[in-house]
Amino acid sequence: MSRAEEELRSIVRKLLERKDVELVLGYEYYGRSVRPCFVSKPEEVERLVWNSDCWFNLATYLRSLRSRRVGIVAKGCDGRSIVELVKENQVDRGSIVVIAVECNGVFKPFKYGSTHVGRRLADYCRRCVTRVSPVADYLVKKGGQAPEDENTVAGDNASDWLSLFRKCLKCMACVKACPLCYCTECSIEGFKPDLVHRLRVPQELFTFHLTRALHMAGRCVECGACESACPVEIPLTRLYHELNEWFRENYGYAPGMSLSEAPPPLVFKEGGED
């Protein structure tokens, strides 16, 4: 058990004993992998772990726990998604306690039938801009040990997106895993006839992925939850990164970096020359 884990557990124990929070979202071991866990009793804090396998974005659960006072273990990107959720009025900053953990990047999750062997730093972690959450009530320093990259080959730069999209099973795992894809009425179903039919599998994948990319533009915090959840390993975060680059170039805006910075589409001003 690392120092960071010890520190994390003591913070969570303190929070639960003082009844500051009802439950804490964290990570626990599940066999040899890590899964999210909800800790609600002080004696359960021994379950909590923190290492480089904790790739889940726990902010995804915050919206369903809106009415409760929750603590959350947040990496840098998780913190950014909390900022985005607060900015979009989906969660109340006052009702969540953010336990920020310093993150050195996470491993790409193991997938059965995956082509690469060995653990390797996730692609999106190479583009990471903040290792510590921009919002934090508690800070656990010296997080998980820096992951040793067993595969020195940088991210595979497959750019044939059209054939990558064709692999898609339309399982909607990317939608479910994304902390910011929360609409109760999804826009791909709001049209009559449906913009994208959920059951016609090899079809309409172009519209599905481009629509999702457009809806994530300027909001995606590049936490990689979609990419990690994807059963066919489409590197979606790279696509959303390109659109965030567009926002950075045109508006100098990066999502999730500060609570006071309004998203450009919200503060769109009239004006400019023809």
Binding site: W161, S187, Q203, F206, L214, A217, L243, G271, D274
Partner: protein, 140 residues
């Protein structure tokens, strides 16, 4: 060569009268240009532009009012920003970004519309058909 590009033009209310004006004034534009009239260019959902590409459009044109002629500038600017974002997205996934254009057309600019559309059609013809890939396109 028998292939002719299929072009979808989303026209806002004002520029659709510009398109009509082209007819009144006797200017022609190719028959493989289909216009879809919408109340304002800012209501065009970018997903529908994407859908048009998937359904077999080789190019999509958005015509909007000139920002300088509008009392409120925002709608055209919103459309401009969306189209610019969508062009970036198309470039990223490897589709030529010139397949999506925005044109400023006022209600009396029929000749401009006819001239520009013919020019763009020629460029799209040089780009060739858009190949999004067999099974991704809905059949029938």
């Amino acid at each position: 060569m028998s292939w002719k590009p299929r072009v979808i033009v989303f026209t806002c209310w004002c520029s659709s009268s510009g398109v009509d004006q082209a007819g009144f004034e006797g200017f022609t534009y190719p028959p493989n240009v289909l216009t879809v009239r919408v109340p304002c260019s800012a209501v065009i959902n970018p997903s529908l532009i994407v859908k048009a590409f998937e359904k077999g459009a080789d190019a999509v044109l958005v015509t909007a009012c000139r920002p300088s002629e509008l009392r409120r500038v925002a709608p055209s600017r919103v459309t401009e920003a969306r189209v610019s974002l969508l062009r970036r997205l198309l470039r990223t996934i490897g589709v030529e970004e010139d397949r999506l254009r925005i044109l400023w057309i006022s209600s009396n600019e029929g000749s401009l519309f006819s001239r520009e559309v013919s020019r763009i059609l020629g460029e799209v013809e040089r780009l060739g058909p858009l190949n999004i890939g067999g099974s991704m396109v809905e059949q029938g």
